[in-house]
Subunit: 283 residues, 2 copies
């Protein structure tokens, strides 16, 4: 019997993002989810492509697991026309993959400053240009795009959209069923404007996913793989869950951790721990 089975009802909103346990193959991930009573998974394009998109879709469908998001499209900020065309083509493929996997949400990491550029404003406008092309394409495939504001420490090299306010300013240029936002505690927890922006997003039907990670320090070199296990850091998960639910969000809650220490451990054990932490701190 699973150590969590007595509390299985509390996992009804839980989804495990594949990156949290990237040491597990897709079949191992599906098996572990079934064993623990985890109802959904968020997927990443590279491991899904490696396994085969159709095969992954079948595997998860047969296991009865919901695919809550696909990560990720984006990287829209190039200036060079050929690079921009390649990014758009790649994002159309990402939308196709999302549709094949049966998820309604493609998460977007919008891209940083092009080499040598210091123009955040121009980069944000190029994101809007890309969404003008991709929004209708996504709608046609039953997929919603979720602009994820990334923590300001990624503004130069990864994502010039640094706050929920900026993400909504972009998203609201488009219909909500085409473009919304990803609310991720790790990126917004420091921002005293974020609760009001969650309300704004909810009122517009634009909270397309809600993701959890905790903030732990010291940050590692490169600051990519420091997303802390739920409960280990400075973020009050229940507070943020309250904000999104007050804003009308009733969807899955994904735990997405990038963390070298977790990746070095047994993946099933990490998944069980993560589910238990979700129940303790966020359910």
């Amino acid at each position: 019997m699973s150590p969590l089975s007595s509390g299985a009802a509390d996992l009804s909103r839980f989804s495990i993002n594949q990156m949290t346990v990237k040491q597990l193959s897709l079949p191992e991930l599906a098996d572990s989810c079934l064993e623990l009573g985890v109802p959904g998974v968020g997927l990443w394009r590279a491991p899904v492509q490696e396994y085969g998109v159709e095969a992954a879709a079948k595997l998860l469908r047969d296991a009865g697991l919901a695919v809550t998001t696909l990560c990720r499209g984006g990287f829209f900020t190039a200036i060079d026309p050929a690079e921009r065309a390649a990014a758009l083509a790649d994002n159309r493929r990402a939308i196709d993959e999302a549709a094949t996997l049966g998820t309604d949400t493609l998460v977007l990491v919008s891209g940083g400053l092009p080499a040598g550029s210091k123009d955040l404003y121009g980069a944000r406008e190029r994101i809007a240009d890309a969404l003008t092309e991709l929004g209708p394409y996504a709608e046609k495939h039953g997929v919603r795009l979720a602009i994820e504001p990334l923590h300001p420490m990624y503004a130069a090299d990864r994502c010039v959209v640094s706050t929920l306010t900026q993400a909504l300013d972009l998203a609201e240029r488009f219909p909500a069923h085409q473009v919304g936002v990803a609310v991720d505690t790790y990126h917004i927890w420091w921002d005293d404007n974020a609760p009001a922006q969650i309300a704004r997003a909810g009122a517009g039907g634009r909270i397309h996913t809600f993701q959890l990670a905790d903030w732990t320090t010291p940050l590692p070199e490169g600051v990519l793989n420091g997303r802390g296990q739920i409960g280990d850091g400075s973020i009050d998960m229940r507070e943020w869950r309250t904000y999104v639910e007050a804003a009308g969000y009733t969807g899955p809650i994904e735990v997405e951790l990038f963390n070298d220490a977790l990746w070095a451990r047994d993946g099933r054990e990490v998944l069980a721990e993560t589910a238990a932490r979700f129940v303790e701190h966020a359910a």
Copy 2:
């Protein structure tokens, strides 16, 4: 003849923060400034205390160098009463030292979350409590307190004041000659609200110092010593200088870098390079 002497007039607003060239002793720093035509220095408490506060004051006065700021007071967020009393006492000493050094500005790094706390709001209120006590003390000594918003990546462990907006919301509870803000490009460059907040600060006479550092990636482990040399990163220094000057700021412009690569080099060479970069990118 100094390589910069032909452009010495362009250094009239330049001040070198002591941490940028911490490998130099105070006498070496003073000599190098005189040689290069650098008119001002921003000081740090620890090396000044080590040299002797009175002796440092005399050294810099005799050299004709302005002390543009003293870094730093702050760390106001403790909950424990004894810790809070100790912080207040230490900040009174910092104000005394600033007055002795002849600078009108003490920069405040307000402090992070106490161990185990997740309450950013409460921590910010404790900063306000401390300023209620320290503001009048500073005024009596002819010193202004400058709340420095630190980049959101420091919110947990160093400074819960993450934006100019938050810093001004705090500062405006007090008279401007007691409490203002530090505008530092490194901490605010990503924030599209910052230009309007600089205008707000200037209108209230609350820009108490303006500091430069560039944003370079990848960030180092712990993210403390990644402040990039001017011109090496993503920040348009002239743009930010334009904002503070449009807001009425006419004071010194300090370059404050924490950077292991710069610290490993000859300090006089780094100072000359920094002055040259200031002229090239910000004068």
